[in-house]
């Protein structure tokens, strides 16, 4: 090896030393960059990756928030005591609190005061409504230590036996409905992702067809000098992979920027009262490691998809060629 090197080095042409020092591990691309609608493809991939990342990030946010919601909702149950003429509602509430607090798995039972109940109803009834005239049911918030050790049926029976006007709501329906809604939203984003992937593959296949048509002469010469279809397909794949990587990175960077900005904005908003509601509704807008990893994964998958699609197309076209 060293012998060969020194022989080449001793050649007289001045062009040689510079040429030898140039690194040529993979060699110059056999599919010329200018022959592919590269900028268009990078833009398309960037947009697709951006949208796919937003969709995936949205799905992650939704499932995180719904999990938070559900765990909050399921750690509580409520008892409602309806006022009926002839019964002492205050006594009923005290009795219900006693029964609930004594049940297994219950951490505490807190009645909402009359004032609290009225505050809850205020948004619907308006301020200063004469609530004394309206029979307002009283709520008891039951905090559960562990949902599994609570026997809701037994608790319900016990309550009804001594207070026929009491009703126990174990929040299961809410929790299930929330889960269903979140699952539907996540399914929708998955369908969106599938559509985006399909559109991107189609764009890549168009670009590959174009590139092959533009490089017919090159493909022919490569065949004549003994290149296999696999070799030629690899040349295209490499080109499209690098274009896909560029597009994917741009799109992913855009999506990360949007998520960061939304996170910062929501953090500033959360300091305000309406922000707290926002947070309760949408979570904290912080994607977390999983979310950002998903965005990076989408960028890489986009790039791989570019390379792979063009490879498959080239292979198929070359097979049909002969």
């Amino acid at each position: 090896m060293t012998g060969a090197r020194s022989m080449v080095d001793s050649e007289e042409s001045p062009a040689k030393p510079g040429w030898i020092s140039r690194s040529r591990a993979t060699g110059v691309a056999l599919v010329p960059a200018a022959s592919i609608a590269g900028r268009t493809l990078v833009t398309v991939v960037a947009i697709m990756t951006f949208l796919a990342s937003l969709a995936a990030g949205g799905a992650v946010l939704i499932s995180q928030t719904s999990r938070d919601w559900r765990s909050a909702v399921s750690r509580e149950a409520t008892i409602q005591v309806r006022p009926v003429p002839g019964r002492d509602i205050e006594a009923d509430v005290r009795e219900a609190v006693r029964i609930a607090a004594g049940a297994p798995g219950v951490e505490s039972a807190q009645p909402l005061s009359k004032h609290d109940s009225e505050a809850l109803l205020e948004p619907w009834l308006g301020q200063g409504a004469a609530l004394d005239d309206i029979p307002v049911p009283r709520m008891i918030v039951v905090k559960l230590a562990s949902r599994r050790t609570v026997d809701f049926a037994a608790l319900r029976d016990q309550l009804l036996k001594s207070i026929p006007t009491a009703a126990l709501d174990d929040h299961r329906m809410w929790s299930e409905r929330l889960a269903d809604m979140a699952n539907v939203l996540v399914a929708i984003t998955l369908v969106l992702l599938a559509l985006l992937v399909t559109a991107m593959a189609l764009a890549v296949s168009f670009a590959t067809h174009g590139a092959m048509a533009g490089n017919r002469e090159i493909i022919e010469v490569l065949h004549f000098v003994g290149a296999s279809d696999g070799f030629i397909a690899r040349q295209f794949q490499r080109r499209f992979l690098s274009l896909g990587l560029r597009g994917g990175m741009i799109g992913a960077a855009g999506a990360c920027f949007v998520f960061l900005a939304a996170g910062l904005l929501s953090r500033r908003l959360i300091a305000t009262p309406s922000g707290e509601q926002l947070e309760a509704l949408f979570g904290s807008f912080s994607l977390g490691v999983v979310g950002y990893a998903a965005v990076v994964a989408i960028a890489l998958v986009s790039a791989a998809l570019c390379g792979q699609t063009s490879r498959v197309i080239v292979f198929r076209r070359l097979r049909n060629l002969s």
Binding site: A4, E12, A15, W19, A25, L222, F224, S228
Partner: protein
């Protein structure tokens, strides 16, 4: 090594350009292929390179019926054939060096395993100082020599050269033909298409395949 039996070829629905070709190319032989312009020399070269399929007849290459070859076999046969195209067919976006190294590169060989060989061959054909330029700045003769170097670099078993001396001066032409003869002595079968009678006369030991009116006449 190559055998044609009653081979006929027509382009599309046109007339038969080649008719009833029956001949063979022996290992280590040297032959000129000649005939008037339009006689079908390039067409015959393309048949030999498996870039055209005969409309009738049988072509056998390296002992295999060419109609029974799959893609991989065609690829491996092409790696044993060196071609100089009449119109060179250098790749414009590759330097002279890269063009000449191409047949080795498509075999996935590492560059340091062949760099020296390519440089030597380029020096031999007088392109030592044109290695790093692109075909568009090469003269016709320089392109031709680059195309020849690309065909020779794999030390082919069969060399097909279509008008390889059309663009060079007589001295260079002789030099190139001598290179082909050199190659033939080392075992390669050489087919040189040309209508340069003077050149053929200088190597009158060679077999002559003459195409005329679609038929082939052989003069030993």
């Amino acid at each position: 090594m190559v055998r044609f039996e009653n081979v006929g070829l027509r382009y599309g629905a046109g007339p038969e350009v080649l008719q009833d070709l029956t001949f063979s190319i022996e290992p280590g032989s040297f032959q000129f292929l000649t005939g008037p312009s339009g006689a079908g020399k390039t067409t015959l070269m393309r048949l030999l390179l498996l870039s055209l399929k005969p409309t009738r007849g049988l072509i056998s290459l390296f002992g295999t019926d060419s109609s029974k070859l799959d893609k991989d076999e065609i690829t491996s046969i092409r790696r044993r054939i060196g071609v100089v195209f009449q119109d060179f067919r250098l790749l414009d976006h590759l330097t002279t060096y890269e063009n000449v190294a191409l047949p080795l590169r498509v075999q996935n060989r590492r560059e340091d395993s062949y760099r020296q060989e390519v440089v030597e061959l380029l020096n031999w054909v007088g392109l030592g100082d044109r290695m790093q330029v692109y075909p568009e700045v090469l003269s016709g003769g320089e392109k031709q020599r680059a195309a020849i170097a690309r065909a020779l670099i794999v030390r082919p078993d069969l060399l097909l050269a279509d008008e390889p001396t059309g663009n060079v001066d007589p001295t260079m032409a002789r030099r190139l033909i001598r290179l082909f003869v050199e190659l033939q002595r080392s075992g390669t079968s050489v087919v040189v298409a040309t209508h340069d009678l003077g050149l053929m006369d200088q190597f009158d030991g060679a077999k002559r395949l003459v195409l005329a009116g679609g038929r082939l006449h052989i003069y030993e």
